[in-house]
Subunit: 468 residues, 2 copies
């Protein structure tokens, strides 16, 4: 039963399991105590910190263990913003950061701080020059000097690597600390460049749940927020999750030892998916950078497909994948990453291969996917690829109010052939995905997206001109 | 090798180990995902929440899992203070709460909030009427209405149970929510009374590290602080520490099943220690309530003994215990609990027996302790019990500036016989423990403690009158 959602949580690495078991017996006591059980726990904690610091590329006293990657991000952002309060009150983030970063930025804004969001291109990467420009005091308008910048090492939804080293250099030149969310990449290698803070999460590399890392370089101003606590240099309150910390450090070392070979193998499998999916499935957009990307992750969107049904059908066939479609989330909005990239969100599938994924399983996925997509499309009454010859009036209005993705796009596609070339179709819709998916459909179909305006009866009117 | 520090961290219960192992295979995936691995994880999480809620005595949807007891306390306090911001800005805490509660209160004060600390008596318990009075709007002076009250179920250093049910009733009458820190007692039984919030920590009952509980009763105003997150009802951000959560819930159920029998057995062993230590070791003060107490915990202080040396010697003999003496901590101040109780802090030893402690180990401890204490006293040059007949001048000054506990008290005891009955000894000291231990010595020796004043050359002058 192939599990293809390593980017959510990787199955526990055998070394993590082994280290966890061993340290359950040796590492349950309080490492702050001086008796033998405490000293043993302290030795394990110190060794884990050294191993993790070596893998991160920092000094052991620069690294603390947190209860999760999310908590590492929250603590890193709040601590460095507080440490630089006198310098400025603005945080600069890319538009495609993990929700933990964006939520921390929202929380900063709610407390009166300023946030600058750096846009990304169609591959999901920021432009280093655009990021650098956002660091300028003038870039924030009245908001002023940037106190902190945040950029992920690689995107969690589409796998695109960010130009971290160049952005770090720009941050250094501007005197702004850079926090790198390395959650998706740390198992594959250290983050290059002169970052100031780094956060990561053990369960993403095959370590156990309950462990994150926060590294804060010496010299970076940092004032931990929240109630004080003596553990983990005052940066992560609460009793240390020691056996899990030991397992996290041991498995990071183990996955790193395998990273070059396994990365190359998975990269080839992902290349195969990237090449074959558009050949096997009509009307698919493969997104993310084809080269500058994580080795194990690929994302594509299928026109005229309901993401939730697609995931359900794939699950029935034994494949566990995730999706950034709004139709699979409870928020009714498509993934902020796909939105920032301006790519199709309907029928979105993220495949992230865990270490050890068998080639046969990937091939079987490529066999199953076209059948499943065709089945979903048939049930939804998705139209054929090419519009019929012109027939009807010069303009048509399609009322898709109250209908969820992918229906508004399907209704558009059904009638585009009814207007002559030069004619328009107006789609009335109130589903948030339409704003992303109607322009994306136009791009894929080479039709002209004219624009949107508020609809009289509520919702939005999206206008499309038939040009072929 | 007997480990007698269960109040710091209990050794992992066999059921916790077993549940942890089983759920490493079944519970590593993201419980928010809809594929089979995610659904399996969700089932485990839901079952753990139901089991824990049953043990706590609340509804499953009132309980969330946090990364530690400390984080549960922090989240509980900040969330309920924020939820009641419009009502008031004052928190009422007992003087002997765990540092996680007191640090959260300090953090509240630093942000402009008010804190009322309710004193305790010599056994370490608050008086319910005194606590109730502190809830009154007038009690805070200008600080006004109480927004939240915090009271532990039982004290972590001396084992004394607090009158939680009575205080909960007073809180209900005053319309103030009560947060109970049940970290030390939850393994022994549910907290009685109408509390509003409850926090606990799994590694205190034999569960794994990395898991705390926070229960918030329906109807309690609660506004989670910090960046938002969808997990755990928005009250505990970050990926769930699932295998550990499963182990925590399973072991709570297991220790509860054993609690009545094991509690009675340990209570008898602790009674033996409470009775025998003062018989075997001269000049000892056993502290805490002898009856209304945790079954497994006893604390005593030994006059003229350096706590750090004592712990070291006991460790060499194979006994792991902890201490609230300032001479064993890095803060140079004695435990805030002993200070609030007004009892002797030097030579302090806390014995907390884990489940399954063998009777023979307790007996061997009682054999070893007198020898160890006598050895430490001999090396420190501690004086004999009774002062010699009067001999010297009417008043003496002892300069113990720069000397750490227990030296100032030892120097006092050495010369008290040199002044006649009615004469005074003035001890100059700058060690924080002297403020607690010199009056405590007077009480034990039935001498008169006259008072303190600032000393000319820095430090404090403590005046003692010989009355026998």
């Amino acid at each position: 039963m192939p599990y293809f959602d390593a980017a959510s949580a990787a199955p526990l690495h055998p070394v993590a399991r082994q280290a966890l078991l061993a340290s359950l017996d040796e590492g349950w006591a309080d490492p702050a105590r001086l008796y033998r059980e405490g000293r043993r726990a302290r030795l394990l904690l110190d060794a884990a910190r050294e191993a993790a610091a070596e893998a991160v590329g920092c000094r052991p006293d620069e690294l603390v263990f947190t209860p999760s990657g999310t908590r590492a991000v929250h603590a890193g952002i709040s601590g460095s913003l507080a440490g630089r309060r006198r310098v400025g009150n603005r945080i600069v983030v890319s538009a495609v950061e993990h929700s933990s970063v964006l939520h921390a930025a929202e929380s900063h804004a709610a407390a009166g701080g300023a946030v600058t969001e750096v846009p990304v291109g169609r591959t999901g990467a920021v432009d280093a020059d655009v990021f650098a420009a956002a660091l300028d005091a003038g870039a924030g308008g009245d908001a002023g000097t940037a106190a902190l910048a945040c950029l992920q090492s690689a995107n969690h939804e589409v796998g695109t690597e960010q130009p971290v080293a160049e952005v770090a250099e720009a941050c250094r030149a501007a005197g702004v600390p850079l926090l790198v969310d390395a959650a998706q990449s740390l198992g594959w290698g250290p983050v290059e460049g002169g970052w100031s803070l780094l956060a990561a999460s053990a369960h993403k590399w095959g370590g156990p749940a309950g462990v994150g890392l926060l590294a804060v370089r010496k010299g970076v101003r940092f004032a931990p927020q929240g109630p004080s606590d003596e553990r983990e240099s005052g940066r992560a309150p609460g009793f240390e999750n020691l056996p899990a910390i030991v397992a996290a450090a041991a498995s990071l070392r183990a996955v790193r030892a395998e990273a070059a070979a396994e990365g190359a193998r998975l990269r080839a499998l992902v290349d195969r998916i990237r090449a074959r999916v558009p050949e096997l499935v009509p009307d698919v957009e493969v997104v993310g950078d084809p080269v500058r990307r994580l080795p194990h992750l690929v994302t594509f969107s299928c026109l005229y497909v309901d993401g939730e049904t697609l995931l359900h059908e794939l699950d029935r066939e034994g494949f566990s994948v995730s999706s950034g479609s709004s139709c699979t989330s409870s928020t009714l909005t498509p993934s902020h990453v796909l939105r920032a990239m301006g790519v199709l969100s309907e029928g979105n599938v993220r495949v992230s291969l865990p270490a050890g994924t068998a080639e046969e399983d990937v091939d079987r996925f490529l066999d199953v996917l076209p059948v499943v997509v065709a089945g979903v499309r048939e049930r939804l009454g998705a139209p054929a690829t090419s519009p019929a010859a012109a027939a009807g009036p010069d303009s048509l209005v399609v009322d898709a109010l109250g209908r969820r993705c992918p229906i508004p796009v399907i209704e558009l596609a059904k009638v585009i052939g009814d207007v002559p070339v030069g004619g328009t179709v107006t789609v009335l819709a109130d589903d948030a995905a339409a704003r992303l998916d109607i322009p994306a459909w136009c791009e894929m179909r080479r039709q002209e997206y004219v624009g949107e305006s508020p609809a009289a009866g509520g919702g939005v009117a999206y206008v499309v001109r038939r040009v072929n």
